[in-house]
Every structure is written in C-alpha cells, then in structure tokens.
Amino acid sequence: MNALVDIRQLSVRYRHGNTAVNRLSLRVAQGETVAIVGESGSGKSTLANAILGLLPDSAQITAGQLWVDGQDLTHASERQKRALRGRTIGLVPQDPMVSLNPTLRVGQQIAEALILAKGKRYPAVDADIVELLQQVGIDNPVLRARQYPHELSGGMRQRVLIAIALAGNPRLIIADEPTSALDVTVQRKILDHLQRLVSERGISLLIITHDLGVASDRADRILVMQQGELVEQGAPRQILDAPQHDYTRALIAAAPAFAKRREPLIHIDPMIEPILSLKNVGKTFALPKVKGEDNTFVALENLSLEVYPGQTLAIVGESGSGKSTALRIALGLEKPSQGQVWFEQQDVTHLSWRDFRPLRQRLQLVQQNPFAALDPRFTVFDSIVEPLVSFGLLKGPALEQAARELISRVHLPASYLDRLPRELSGGQCQRVAIARALALKPGLLLLDEPVSALDVSVQAHILDLLEELQREMGIAYVLVSHDLSVVANFAHEVLVLRNGKVVEQGSVERIFNHPANEYTRELIAAIPGRHVATRAA
C-alpha cells in the first residue's frame, strides 16, 4: 500500500477505436527509478499522460484503477488531479526546444511553478529561482532567469525544465524521453544530474523511453510495453540476460548498443582508386557585419577523406560539428572554400550544376526524414522512377518493369507502387527513398542520418537492408550520423568531427577499442546501454 503509483488493470481507449493502454498494472515505490521502454505507438506516452491526469479529450479510461499517492485518478475531479500535478508529480517533457513558453522569461516560468506549490506569492521567490537554477547546474543563474528560452541552449533548457519539475518538491518525476533531442554527451550529463538530484531527495523517477540502453543504464526496474500491453518487467540485468518475451528479445537484438560489431573490411586493394575523395576541404561562412567588422564562421577545416567502392565511411559528430556541411560539399550542393573534391578520378570541385549533372547518376543521397524526403503527391511509383524519368533513361513498360525490380530490391510488395507516402510507415518510406536512390545504379550513396527518425527495430531492418545492398551491388556508403552506436555496427571506417575539425579517423575497430582522443572516448562512454552491455560482455 506504500506504492506511490499503483496502477491496476488500467485500460485507456481513444475515441476512434484503438486501445492505447490495455489492462496494464504497474507499481512505483517511493525512491524507485522505473523505466518504461517501448516503440512509437506502444502506449507509453498515453500511460504517462494518464498518471499526470492529462489525457486528451479524445481518450478515456475504460477500465481499471490508477492510484497516485493514495488517490484514485480514474474518479478524481479535475481539481484533485490539478492538486497532484506539480506538487506530487513533476514532468520533464520530451523536447526541451519546444517545451518552454517562448514568450515568458525563464525565471517567470519557474516562479509560476514555485508559487503554485506554495499556493501564494511570496517575496523570496527570486532567491528560490536562483537556487533551483544553481541546483540543476546552470551557471550565472541570475542572468539566466532574466533570459528568454530562445537565448538558452538545448541542454540549458532541459535543465530549466528539470528545475520546473523540481519546483513543487514532487514525490515523482516523469521523464518523457528526457533527452532524445539532445546530443549524446549532453544527454549523458543531464541524465546523470537528474538522477543525482532525484536520489538525493528520494524522489521516484519514471523514465519513458524508446531506448533500451538508456533504460538499462538508469533504471532499477524496466517495463517493456508493446501495443498497450506490458510484455515484460524486471531488473535491467534480468531483462538483458534472460528476456522472456519475443518482443524483448527482438528489441535487444535491434538495439545497436547490444549488437555485435561489424567485421572490418578485410583488405583494401591498393590498386583500387577511391570513388570519392575530399582533399583538405574547408568551408567558411560570412556572417553579418557587427560594427563594421567582418565576421566569418568556420564550418569545416582541413577535412580529408577517401571512400572506396564497397566500403562504408562514417562521419560522426554532434550538432554543429560540420558533418552536414561535409556531406553537402561531397554532393556538390555547396562549394568548398578551400581544397578539392574528387569523384571517380575527376576533380568536381568547381563543376557547374550542369556539368555535375551526368555524375549524379553515380552519386545519390538518402535523407534523414523519410516522410519529408518523398513528395506527398507522388505515388511510390512516381517517386522511385523519377530519376529515371529525369535523365530520360526509360519509358513506358520498361519503366514499370524497373519500378517492380526496384521495389522488390527494398523488400516491399509491388502493390505498394500505388500508395502515397502518407499511406506508408516511416520504415517503408525510407525503403522507397532507398529504392529511388538505387534507381540510377549509383556507385556511391550518401546516407544522411538514415535511421535517426525511426524506431529501433525499424532502424535495424533498414541497416540490414543497406548492408545487403552493399553486399550485392558493391555500393560505397558515406554515413553521416550523430549516433555512435549505429556507426559501430555499420561502418568500416570512422571519422569523428568536432566544431569543424577532424578529431580522429580510423577503422571502426581501432576507434572503438582504442580511441586515441579524449572527445572520442567521451562519445563512446556516452552511448546508452554501454554500461550494462560491457558488464554483460
């Protein structure tokens, strides 16, 4: 009876049919850290909202009980639920970039939570704000309190959100995908900080995440959810070592952190010329003048790389590292300020768009967000064959034949050719995008974060597909990613970028096992799940 949260056989249904949470039971004791793991659509967010008493109008609790701190929320009035929020349950929302009111100062937003907790305005509120900001690890809190959210970095905003959650001295904090929008190193620091604060105060923590790695690193207990149902729960070790449920096993298999590292490419034939090489490439951008002085921003400095046929080179870096700039230069979308770009033994650095065009048949791109990468008005067929039509290569029945071949290459049924992107899932969209990139039979594919927008299990499938295609068609890949764990399983060579400079470069084996640079070590350490995985190994 001393459980802080006690959920019994809870079912939540949306008005238009689907049951988001199905007969789910869960207990969270005081001071315990529990992680709920699930992919999109598993119902984990609905559960979090139900505990907060913030289900949307279209959702309804159809069965079961939901006790929080001795109150049954299924029958509580709005006022009672409101009294729980903030003071008993705090929320650390998902995306810090959009979770603060952009038109209110940071201090005011914290003050609001403080005043609500106290129940009235009080004079010492300013001091409390500063103290809270200090506690969550923000330096110069007096200044920060007066700033607006857009003046703060993502990490700082996340800390502010933690401060807001803490303001009411809650007994439970729900962290909904607390850090997925942040760079890995920042993510790690903030989660560490949050955990410390929580354990110091004996607050219970409920982490909602899609990342089994994060869950196993942080939680005392893991709950795995699939389609509204709780399929498995237990201590992290127990879950990882002896998963009971197929779905859990699939999740573990898919999670890059727990997967086996790829065999490095055995040999690079010295006779083979690189398909793409960047030689001492640099890029600077001009910024608006300030007080008459010229300002420049160095996006990329002295980058050299070579990609060989059939090989995968990964460029890894956090936001602002220059990895996208490198990709755009390689594609000819951006001209480098210094250096040269060679593609198939041809200097393409200064080629005009028109002159570059024939080469594009050999060089294609797969983009980050599969939904945005497809024209919503084009059927799958139109999208796939578009490059063929643009180059005027095929017509009529030959075109339809090519489409059928391409779609079967990416393991989609031919009937999907008639579908529109909105009728497809994210993974399917990405397959279509890959099929489109393959249409011209390119020698090199540039992959811009190809799986970052997808669920973990889908990620694995897409990466498998890419691997298969490489094997069968001998395509070279340049993979740009912020996620070392993806890289670890997929790339042969790794190049680590930071603030436009190359930090380290080498085979995946060497980088992961013997990182030479401090930053690289930091990056590797920040991979969630590594904690448990290495212990397990």
């Binding site: 983009q367 067929f381 578009e386």
Partner: protein, 299 residues
Amino acid sequence: MNMLEQNLGRKTMSASPGLWRRRSRLQRVTATLLPLLRRPGFSLALLVVVFSLVAAIAPHLLSSFDPYATSPVDKLRAPNLIHWFGTDELGRDLYTRVVFGSSLSVLSAFLAVGIALLGGLGLGILSGFAGGRVDAVIMRFVDVLLALPGLLLALAIVTAIGFGTVPVAIAVGIGIVPGFARTTRAEVLRVKTLPYVEAARLGGASWGRTLLRHILPNAWGPVAVLATLDFGAAILATAGLSFLGFGAAPPAAEWGTLIANGRHFLITAPWVSLLPGLFLVAVVFSLNHIARTFEETQR
C-alpha cells in the same frame, strides 16, 4: 482519414502483386472526394455552389420567367409558390433575377480571381524562385499594392476605365493580387527547401521539372484554398461596388445591385433585399466552408 487509409490498404493488399497496374488520377480524386461528400455540410455547400455555377452558365434552365419583363400588376408580391422569392417593385420575378444575376456576379468573380491568380501566381513564383534582388523588388511592389485599400484602388481603377461588370471585376482582381503573390511566394519558399525537392534535384531533375512537378503542385494547396476564399471575397467586393452604383448596366443586375435596389423596400417589402442578400451569403459561406474543409484535409 483513418478509415480511408484502411480502405485503401485493404484494396491494394487484396490485389495480387503480379497484376499491379498504375491507378488512374480519377480513382485517386474520387477516393479523396467521396468521404468528404458524406459530410452533410460539405455536400450542402457544394450543392449551393454548383447551383450558382449552373445559374451562371445556363440560367434559363433554372427558371422559366423572363428576368427583365416588368409586370406592374404583380409588383411587390411576397414570396409565394409562383414567385419563390417574391417580386420587385416592377413585378419582376426575384428568384429569376437572382438566377440571372449569377452569370454576372459569378463570372465577374471568376474574372477577378483569374486575374489575381495569373498576376499573383506569376509574381509569387518569380519572387520565390528567383530570390535576391528580383524578390526584393517584387515584394516591395506587392507591399505597395497591399498598402492601397482594396475598395479605394478599385474605385480609382473604375474612375479611370469606367463603370460596368468587367471594369469592376478587373479592379477587384487587381486588388487581390498581393494576397496571392504573398501566399504563393511563401509556399514556393517553403516547398523549395523541403528534402524531396532537393532529392529530385539530386536525382537529376531540371529546375523546370522540379518547379512543375514538385514545387507548384505542393505549393498549390494553400493557393487553391485562398482562391476559393477569394472567390467569395470577389463576389462580395463586386457586390459592394455594384451597391455603390458602379456595376452592370440595367436592367441586368448583379446580386449587389439587387440588394442595393431592394433596400428601399426594407420596411415595406423586406424580401426584395433580404432574399438576394441571403442567397449571396449562402454562396459565399458555402465557398468559405469548402475552402476550410479542403484546408483541413490538407493538414
């Protein structure tokens, strides 16, 4: 939307993969339109608009009376079974007058929106596509047009080129150009930077192809919604100008003229002004409703 997806899913799934053929555009259009038609509000609005379109093209199909024949004996009859909207001060059948007025009002709205579309789309695409100085110059020009209050600009144009339906339509059309130009430009700019446009470019598509196949069709949605909305607005604006006495030559009468002429009988025979007014409101409201429904389905 969910139902639609499921329906489509089932249909495509059931077809055997080997026999795949491309689906025609018509099939896709009906697939999006059918569920909309099941909404009573939408159907009703569509009905009103279709009615006014038919009235505009073939008014004699909808009424057997002569809109211009006076009949002093029947003057100012209240609505009844023979004269559905009653009669005006010269005994002319008002329903017939409204139906025949459609051709002027609807066609002039078409002309106005056509001008606005032509000018606005042209300016907007050029501006959004060319960027740089061209964009700056065009947008300043659009700002200038925007700064001129619509009705006043229309009045100035009508002063210069004379009264009548066509001048009024031209004036109204020019007045709504800036809105179109701005929307088109914003849409072109938005769509231009979307990944699939970049993908098409990298897939070897020329700018022309990219513009025609990707940017315009995707930028078209909000512009089409605006066109539908402005169609209603153009009807209102022409009505306003005819109300002020700049409209068609008598005895032909646009809706605005009918309302204007009937207003003298507001106390004694209110239907003469109110019924044409109600009809006008119904048409414009229906257009707005259709525009909003499309907008909602686009989102």
